[in-house]
């Protein structure tokens, strides 16, 4: 599998967020602020985000790494690294 680019990962994250929280405007998300402060995600939504990203990108995300996905920037960096 070819390595994931930042753009691919970013697009996958936006797709996922829009599917789970349709009211979200991706352009309004501050990349270095915690996502869960900006998007109303409960633990069930967050688990769905992880499942979607796993399906779209093929990246294994252990529960102990959930903290890496706290902000948009850190999530992109983490998923590119793991992809």
């Amino acid at each position: 599998m070819t390595a994931l680019t930042r753009e691919q990962v970013r697009a996958a994250i936006f797709d996922t967020l829009c599917a789970i929280a349709p009211e979200v405007d991706p352009a309004s998300i501050a990349p270095d602020e915690p996502l869960r402060d900006q998007v109303d995600l409960d633990s069930f939504d967050f688990l769905n985000v992880i499942i979607h990203l796993h399906e779209k990108l093929g990246v294994e995300i252990p529960e102990s790494d959930y903290g890496e996905l706290a902000t948009l920037d850190s999530a992109v960096a983490y998923l590119v690294r793991r992809g």
Binding site: D40, F44, I51, E63, S64
Partner: protein
């Protein structure tokens, strides 16, 4: 002949609008099958039928607003002969469209309960304009409340046909307002809270989840749900309904899960027999339920059945939630955020993962001592997570 009637999908429901039939005359239906979609204040609900048989006749047309208890369809039981049309068909009554009470003064003398008259005075409702819910019946407090709401709605610029197409969010707010007002008016709540050490169960869950693929992972609330359901078996006064001035305990534990809707509003549909389900099954059921709350349709049995409610508000950092009981239930269990807190154990201070569990219960049914036993049982069950499977 079985009569399929508009079910009550919660204490606050008076009528629903039939949106769609999922069956047609001549179809075989099975007990538990979803047969119609009904729009309520809490969204579109798939209504199940509780008899098996053959559909004889659909009495109500889609688009009709139907009061709770009105006939929707006729069903022929297995083996029952097809009755000649003349016998089974009373002249098709005009579809029972319930309207917001109109200001017309009903014919004849009004019969009004004293408390309804008093309420009308309090609310500034013109009692002569109130109509009873049944033609010729006695005007009740509920009728007055409805008239007051209708008057309020007339003042506000309400879109037409709001039950079907319109301001659904306002409808839901009204439904919650009605149920919660009734709860606070009628139910003498008492409140208890206990800090529970959940270090073992959270560690056990983290370990369990490392073995699972992402789609099979369990949320922290899952073992909590199971423990709550099992603890209710030990405290049957928390599980059931207050009906007609008496408590009716429920054998089954149908756990109502308070689920927030995107953009506001709340429903608390049931996970049936939560005490008998595995954690995997509870997770699958919760996933299905939340997905349908937020995007699809709930089923009538899920709306009508909960014997108790669980509200889990820890997500946003809330440590304690003291709930308002959803009538006719008699208890609501609250869970807050799991936090690391210092605790004294054997003379030293250690940091443990702790959750505050709360109980709001109906004092007509139980006393604080019984409520305390429930929370103690919950705490005990959460110390042995491997037994919760």
């Amino acid at each position: 002949m079985h009569e399929f009637r508009m079910p009550s999908l919660g204490a606050d429901m008076e009528a629903g609008t039939l949106v769609e039939w999922m069956i047609k005359p001549g179809d075989e239906v099975k007990r538990g099958q979803a047969v119609a979609v009904v729009e309520t204040q809490k969204g579109a609900i798939e209504v199940e039928i509780w008899e098996s048989g053959t559909v004889e006749r659909l009495v109500v047309e889609p688009g009709t607003k139907v009061p709770v208890g009105e006939l929707l369809a006729l069903l022929r039981a297995a083996g029952e002969p097809v009755a000649p049309q003349v016998e089974i068909l009373p002249p098709p009554a005009p579809a029972p469209v319930s309207k917001v009470p109109s200001p017309a003064v009903p014919e004849g003398r009004q019969r009004i309960s004293p408390s309804a008259r008093k309420l009308a005075e309090e609310l500034g409702v013109d009692i002569t304009a109130v109509q009873p819910s049944e033609a010729g019946g006695v005007i009740s407090r509920a009728d007055v409340e409805r008239a007051a709401q209708a008057a309020q709605a007339e003042k506000a610029p309400a879109p037409p046909q709001e039950a079907v197409t319109g301001d659904w969010r306002r409808q839901m707010r009204k439904a919650i307002a009605a149920a919660m007002s009734r709860s606070k008016r009628e139910i003498p709540h008492y409140y208890l809270g206990a800090d529970i050490n959940v270090t073992r169960v959270t560690n056990w869950l983290a370990e369990e989840n490392t073995k699972r693929s992402v789609a099979e992972r369990l949320l922290p609330v899952i073992p909590m749900m199971k423990a709550v359901a099992l603890a209710l078996r030990e405290a049957p006064e928390m599980n059931g309904f207050w009906v007609d001035g008496a408590f009716r305990a429920s054998e089954a534990v149908h756990l109502g899960m308070a689920i927030a809707m995107r953009g506001g509003g709340l429903v608390a549909p049931a996970i049936h027999d939560a005490d008998r389900k595995s954690l995997d099954q509870l997770m699958a059921d919760l996933r299905d339920l939340i997905t349908r709350v937020r995007g699809g349709r709930l089923r009538s049995s899920e709306m009508a059945d909960p014997t108790v409610t669980l509200t889990n508000l820890g997500e946003q950092g809330v440590e304690q939630v003291f709930g308002v009981i959803y009538p006719p239930q008699v208890a609501i269990v609250g869970l807050g955020k799991i936090t690391g807190r210092p605790r004294a154990e054997n003379g030293t201070v250690v940091v443990r993962k702790v959750i505050t569990a709360t109980l709001a219960a109906d004092h007509r049914v139980s006393d604080g001592h019984r409520g305390a036993l429930f929370l103690a049982a919950l705490g005990r069950l959460l110390q042995e997570p491997e037994k919760l499977r």
